[in-house]
Symmetry: C2
Subunit: 252 residues, 2 copies
């Protein structure tokens, strides 16, 4: 049975979680990326109080599943997750990868039920932000309301980027774009932009980019042969960022 954060709703249980995971938004090194960006110290304290931190998810554990009742959005603290939908014929469409500082779960608001599932790609810790509390606080704190509107809007523009990628770009361009996206997001978190370990499998990459595993693999080989990337299984090193950008063929 899958362990869900929301399940640890009992008083004693919750308290223990808080004790064990004494991080708070004020001292979190991700607080430039995550929710509290625009807030005053006082406001952060209030936000901090509604956020629940619990024990990490193990690899391949679900944070929530398609159809689950929507109660919270989640901020990634460490590790990585994927969000995905399962099509009627059983195939999987990955709709996003989420790294530390990023927020997921917002697609559940419209129906009070999650429109996708979220699963840990590796051991991951998340902050749970109960949506009802977030709504209440937002009404009181204009900055928070605005910030959350912006977060949702960003999710929309990112989805639209992906739509364009899927419908207009070749396999090479898609994979190159994803590598650049991961590189940029790493840079934002003060990690290396040129060397990283992919937390997701080739299958996941394929299911995200609308390609088969074989094609993804072939693209990596091609990039390696062109001395753009150095690929050692999940270890990636970008040798030629300009070449990669050219291959991605995006003005960005």
């Amino acid at each position: 049975m899958t362990m869900r954060l929301a399940d640890s709703g009992e008083g004693g249980e919750l308290k223990r979680c808080v004790h064990d995971y004494q991080v708070n938004c004020g001292n979190c090194r991700l607080n430039g990326i995550c929710l509290p960006l625009a807030l005053e110290t006082d406001d952060i304290k209030q936000l901090d109080e509604i956020i629940q931190r619990s024990k990490p998810l193990q690899k391949s554990q679900h944070l929530y599943r398609e159809g689950d009742r929507f109660q919270s959005v989640y901020a990634v603290r460490s590790g990585a997750l994927k969000a995905y939908k399962t099509t009627d014929d059983g195939r999987e469409q990955v709709t996003g990868f989420y790294f530390p500082g990023e927020i997921l779960g917002m697609d559940g608001i419209s129906n009070n039920s999650h429109a996708s599932s979220a699963k840990a790609l590796e051991t991951a810790a998340v902050c749970e932000i109960p949506f009802s509390s977030l709504e209440r606080l937002s009404a009181m704190m204009p900055n928070l309301q605005r910030h959350f509107f912006q977060l949702m809007s960003r999710e929309i523009t990112e989805d639209q980027q992906l739509i364009t990628l899927l419908s207009k770009n070749s396999a090479d361009e898609r994979v190159a774009s994803l590598m650049l996206s991961i590189s940029n997001r790493n840079a934002k978190r003060k990690l290396s932009a040129t060397q990283f370990r992919l937390p997701m499998s080739r299958v996941d990459i394929g299911n995200y980019l609308g390609l088969t595993v074989e094609t993804v693999s072939r693209v990596f080989s091609r990039m390696q042969k062109m001395d753009i990337l150095l690929v050692d299984n999940k270890e990636i090193r970008i040798l030629d960022t300009e070449g990669l950008k050219k291959m991605a063929n995006l003005g960005t």
Copy 2:
């Protein structure tokens, strides 16, 4: 001038708009679809006051362009619009079609600048909702805040539907899905679900579904030959809804 199916529904309303812009949310026949869904009569009056109604857009006029400063979101009152982005190599990705009662422009919130352009596919009237006022009202009216969160979330889930469609479905399935989507949205507006006039060109459909014009045209021909649709240029009549659903191959 030829009588058109779609005009018979919206034409009267358009005429009234042209004469005077004194429509208000309280008496708008779209208010079950649009923003004020969850509001009390008093609240609607307040919302009504911030909404600006202006003279209709002519076909192919822009409502806003990619990069424009973001100030408002818009509700379609009559007609139809498309939202699209232009890729670096000059091609066009249509990210959505918007019919009466639907809201567009929310992708501009994250950067205070529109991430896409919006253009009228035919003569269209829109309600402009200044975002700053909407934010102010939202903080005061929890129902409005929630409703707007839900609207944005719906935009996200719809984009994710499109992502899945683009990456997993054949040309036949894509076109069939779009026809069903338009049919359903018509039904919501109390118009015929089986007979309508497409406001967009084949090129627009292709640019939305990630297909070329030729392919779109061929799919229409195929559907006609299978007695699923009756296609007369932009006039569409659905002859076999079940067959269409089967062709779309979506559990919905």
